[in-house]
Each structure stands twice: as C-alpha cells, then as structure tokens.
Amino acid sequence: MNLRACWTMMRVTWMIWFQNRAFFFLLAFGWMISPLVALFIWSTAADGRSLGGMTQGELVAYYLVFILVNQLTYSQTYWTFGDKIRDGRLSPMLLRPFSPVLYTLVTEVGGKGVYLLFVVPVSTVLALLLHPKIHVTLPGCLTFVVSLLLAWFLRFFWGYWIALLAFWVQRADIALAVQDACIFLLAGQVAPITLLPAPLRIWAQVLPFRSMISFPVEILTGHLNPMETVIGLMLQICWSLIASLVFLILWRNGLRRYTAIGG
C-alpha cells in the first residue's frame, strides 16, 4: 500500500470532480429520485394508517436513511470499468506501479465526499419538512456502522465482478442492468422488505441485495430484533466473502486473457 500515491489519486479525483460539479450533483440527484418517489408514494399510502406495522413517520424515516445508505454504498465505477476493458483504456492503468483495483477503491472513496456534499443537505431539509419518526440507540448506531461498511464492501465487489465479465462478453452491461433491477426490487427500494409479498420476501432475505442497502437501514430505524440482526450480519459476511472471492478469481483469469489479446 502506497499511502502517498493513494492521497494523490484522491486529490486528483476531487479536482476532476469539482471541475464538473454541476454534472455530478445532477447525477447524485438522479440517484435520489427513485427512493424519493418511493418515499412519497408510501407516505401517501400510509396516511393515517399503518402498513405491515410501519407508520407514516417510520416509512419516511426508513426512506431518508435509505437515501443516505444508498448513496454511501453506491459504486459508480463499474459502469465505466467495462468500457475501459473494451476500448483498452485499462492498459495504461496496468502500467502504473499501482494496482487498478486500489485505484478504483480510492476514486470511489474520493467520489463519496463529493456526493455527500450534495446529499446530506438535501436529506436534512427533507427531514425537517417531512417529520420522520426514528428512535436511535447507541448499540443500534454501532451495529449500523459495522453493517454499513460490510454493505459497501459487498456492493462494491459484487458490482465489480459483474463488470469484469466484460473480459469475456461484449455487452456485459446487461448483467449490470439485471443487478440494478434486482436491487430495485429486492434491496428494499421499491418497498421495505416487510411489505413485499410473501414469495418475493423470502428471495429478498436470502439473496445478497438486501445486505447491500436495506439491512443497515433496518438496523438504524430499529425494525430488527437482536436475533435477526445477528443472522443478517452473518449473511452479509458470507456474501462479502463470496463476492470478493469471485472477484479475485475473475480478475486473475480475466487479466491473463486481456493481456493475451492485447499482445
């Protein structure tokens, strides 16, 4: 690990991003829209009654935390990484004395800073306007931070291994689109997991997508008992291990294949 190089890369990322900040703020706004629509729909639907044990205030709180977690765990690089493999821009990255994986990680972390500058004020204003009802405890906060880190790790490597399919397939972005559809349906975006119809709910609990966003949100908003929290954390760890393992295997083999074609 080369700390100085990491720091430089991060500063470069910031400089590039602040140059086009309007564009990136628009992008961040675009990612907020879908959970925001869900927020307004559900809070209208739950007006004056409770749905599946969630009141209107709780639903609002759920979605506001969801927007934050979604932004923190979202990884924007995997859409571009496939292009880099396809058009050969990966080659200069490989020549650097600096792993491309590390580079992606550092730009990812740098990018988060820029997005948060936009998302935190907007969600604060929304929180003031919409009266969320949330009851935060200290242990809840601590487990939230742990599961948030796991969620980010999982989402990062899960998206990354799918992007690596571009080593073998021309249009690997269709797999990314399938992933996004799964996240929309099963990660608690279209509805909190408890409100999903029965067959979908079981799928949502087993597949990794809930661990990517919804699980930390549920911890912070206090919808889980200790047993469910422990099981959820174990699932997160399992899926993280699987995702990073698959990533490592694909990366090794893909890189060999890439150099073989590039000559």
Binding site: R171, I174, L185, A191, P197
Partner: protein, 174 residues
C-alpha cells in the same frame, strides 16, 4: 414534400446503421423488458398493501405507467437521439461539428432535431402502448370514441411540450 422525402431517408439510414449491430437489438429488447417488468412489479407490490391511493387503483396506475413509458419511448425514438448528439461533454456544439449542420441547405431546426432515429425505441413504444391497453381493459369501462380522440390529442400535446422543453434545454448549451 421535400422534407417528407428527407425524413424517410433519415429513417432508412438510421435503420441501416442499427441493423449493423444485430446483437444490440436483443440487448435493448432485454433492457426494455427489464425496465417495464420492474415498473409493473413495483406497482403490484404497492397495491398489495393498499386498495386505492386518492382514487387511483392498480389498473389506472398501470395506464399512467404505460403513458409515461410511451412518451419516453417516443422521445427516444424520434427526436431524442438527434438532440442528445448536440449536447454533453463531447457534443457537436462543443467540438464544432455543428458547423456541418449549419452549412446544409435545409431548415436547421428540422435537421438538428430529426436526423437520427432510434428504431430500437420502437419496442418501447409498443410495450408502453401494450401496458396502456392492458390497464384500460382491466378498468373494464370500455372506451368511447370521444375519449380516445381526447387521449390522442392530449398525447400529441404532451409530445409537443416535451419536444419544446428538450429543445429549450438543448439550446442552453450555446
């Protein structure tokens, strides 16, 4: 007449360009289906929990979703691709290729907004129309001719507004 002939050759050229990448046709078909499926699933999940929201039922929301898809698809098919080529970080106005449009002996707005068609988006048009039709059958009230005419009129007005807005925002690039 001259403009109609131009228009048909624009469409022909666009088809030829897209047919060069036939695999992309299936990919975009998949994208469209996925997009529609997630939208419909979202509505189904919502209306599992509640019967109506301010008078809207599942069927009427499906019609709304369909109209939204339909308008988006028409934009993506007819004038979206041409206008998108102008703007953006590497757009034609930015890199100077817009000059080639200014030099041609036709109406500039006509050329700039209609030269590129995306026939893949025709799938989306059909899908959107299908969802609208399905929702209307589900509502089960039937359609009268005046209703249908008013709907078509409103859709055309909607598209005109959409086009005007898009042209307005595209012009901001100057």
């Amino acid at each position: 007449m001259h403009y109609l002939r131009l228009l048909s050759s624009f469409i022909r050229i666009s088809i030829q360009q897209e047919m060069a990448f036939r695999f992309n046709f299936f990919v975009s078909l998949l994208f469209s289906l996925l997009n529609l499926a997630t939208g419909v699933m979202g509505l189904v999940i919502l209306y599992r929990q509640v019967q109506t929201i301010h008078g809207w039922t599942l069927s009427s929301s499906l019609v709304l979703l369909g109209v939204f898809q339909l308008l988006g698809a028409l934009r993506g098919m007819v004038f979206g691709p041409s206008l998108e080529r102008l703007t953006g970080i590497d757009g034609e106005i930015g890199n100077g290729r817009f000059d080639f449009i200014l030099l041609r002996p036709v109406n500039i707005q006509f050329l700039a907004s209609l030269r590129n068609w995306s026939l893949f988006a025709f799938i989306d048009v059909m899908l959107g129309a299908g969802v609208v039709g399905f929702g209307i059958i589900q509502i089960g009230k039937g359609l009268t001719w005046p209703h249908l005419l008013a709907f078509l009129l409103a859709i055309s007005a909607g598209i005109s507004i959409l086009y005007a807005m898009l042209l307005l925002f595209t012009s901001l690039v100057f």
